[in-house]
């Protein structure tokens, strides 16, 4: 409860600072909207020429990747910016500041910011998510709703944990930008692989996305199960919550080990 109150306070302060430059704020929002809009435009161009991919129709793919994006946008809304900045904070020694606060540095980093730049992505995801759901006409029984909801939650945890792990790495390597961009870059990142059904990739890549960097659990496996698709490694299909739990624990411990290891660089 105390955190929520604090968060609201922080959001107001943060937005006040940003609104000082309201033109820049508007520009940022427009730029993000167009960037995400173009991605959907490209998706539309692809499926203007093709009916389906690997047995998945346009709407099924759309439903799958908006599911993934939904979880991703929420996750980034909280964790992306702190985990991007932490490399710089550790390098310059400014992280000391966070250690002196009366709340845990992690919570402090998360609640002191408000990443409105992810709002356009979230907006588009919701719109196309609803649109694809309407087109698909899934028979939403109780079990399915619960299953889907739990999967979404698991996807949120998985994305957040991966972000936190890459952030925690900067306690060791000091420079984590390359790893971050390798995973989440909008053009080249590994995350883009989970926008399509993973059976279109080679077995090595499928294994990588399933067992090493479990992006496939954020949307592909749950949605495939929900829609009754054939999946490779079908025995892992329902494991999203377990994977989320495991990776969540890993990221939690990694963060705390890193935190103990932190030595200030500055004066």
């Amino acid at each position: 409860m105390k955190y929520i109150k604090l968060y609201l306070r922080f959001v107001i302060v943060y937005m006040k600072g940003k609104l000082e430059y309201h033109f820049a704020l508007l520009l940022e929002l427009i730029a993000n909207t167009i960037q995400i809009g173009i991605y959907f435009a490209g998706f539309w161009v692809i499926f203007y020429n093709f009916e389906n991919i690997a047995g998945w129709s346009k709407y099924e793919v759309l439903f799958m990747f908006t599911t993934s994006w939904l979880a991703y946008s929420f996750s980034c809304f909280f964790f992306w910016s702190p985990m991007r900045d932490i490399g710089e904070l550790v390098r310059t020694g400014k992280f000391d500041l966070y250690l002196t606060r009366p709340i845990s540095p992690f919570v402090y980093m998360v609640i002191q910011q408000f990443q409105y730049t992810f709002l356009p992505r979230l907006f588009f995801s919701v719109v196309f998510w609803v649109y694809s759901m309407k087109k698909l006409q899934i028979d939403w029984t109780w079990e399915r709703v619960v299953f889907y909801f739990v999967s979404l939650l698991a996807a949120f945890v998985i994305f957040s944990s991966i972000t936190v792990i890459t952030g925690a790495m900067s306690f060791w390597t000091i420079k984590n930008e390359e790893i971050v961009s390798l995973l989440t870059d909008n053009n080249y990142g590994l995350k883009n692989f989970c926008d399509y059904p993973i059976q279109i990739y080679g077995e090595g890549m499928q294994a990588l996305l399933t067992f090493v960097i479990p992006y496939a659990f954020t949307a592909y496996y749950p949605v495939a199960m929900l829609l009754g698709k054939d999946v490779p490694n079908s025995y892992v299909g329902n494991l999203s919550p377990v994977i989320a739990l495991v990776i969540g624990i890993i990221s939690y411990s990694l963060w705390h080990i890193g935190l103990k290891r932190y030595n200030s660089t500055g004066a």
């Binding site: 820049a24 020429n49 093709f50 991919i53 870059d185 890549m205």
Partner: protein
Amino acid sequence: MKKYIDYIRIGMKEHLVYPSAVCAKLFSKIIYLYLQFCIWSALFSSGSIKNLAINKTDTLRYIVVATIVSTVIECNIIEKINAQIQSGNIATELIRPIGFKRMLFSRHLGDTAIKIICCLLPLIGLVKASVSLQLLCIEQIGFGIISILLAYGIQFLYSIIIGLLAFWLIVTWPINMFLSAIYKLLSGVWIPVTMFPEILYRINLFLPFRAIYSIPVSVLTNSMKMNVIWQSIGVQIIWLVILYILMQFLWHEGRNKLVVQGG
């Protein structure tokens, strides 16, 4: 002349200081190429092709060559120009006895030289070893290279123009961000432009983006009639001239407008 050669060297050295960044660059290109290859193969093997003017082999050739060519054509001077205009450091550049734009171009050449050695050649080797496709149209390779050089120039001018907008806007990353999104779609580096719906294709005819990837890659991979090739190269030359004039105009206007505080 010698001073510009020195700048080429500086451009090369800037890269070599961070070998891990160069490796990451190559690695991300490989991942991207793999992603593109898988998606387009899967789309064509799904057997659900609607009205399509281009077949599977041509598409794969196009996609592979476009990704390989992109390692050379890419230009990241926008942020450099922005940073210099924002901080006012551009004033020191302007009093040096060298041309600012030529200096940028020399550095960019050095940058490209490293990319050719560290990204382009390994990528070509990898593709040759793993994909059994006849990628290039051998008879047109001369025209292809001319077309790539023109595209390289167009991309450089385009980047410098966006960078110079900082004279007026101060912060250009949002502009840069949304232009790069439009660029990604319309240049044809992601989706072949022949797949565009009619309206989008028409709009694109009047924009410079397709002259950067779509035209050179088509010349390299598709066998075309002589007049079509000349037409394509003509389009590129026209854009090169237009962008050059625009760049000169912005440069003169911007420089007159520039006020550096302090210093």
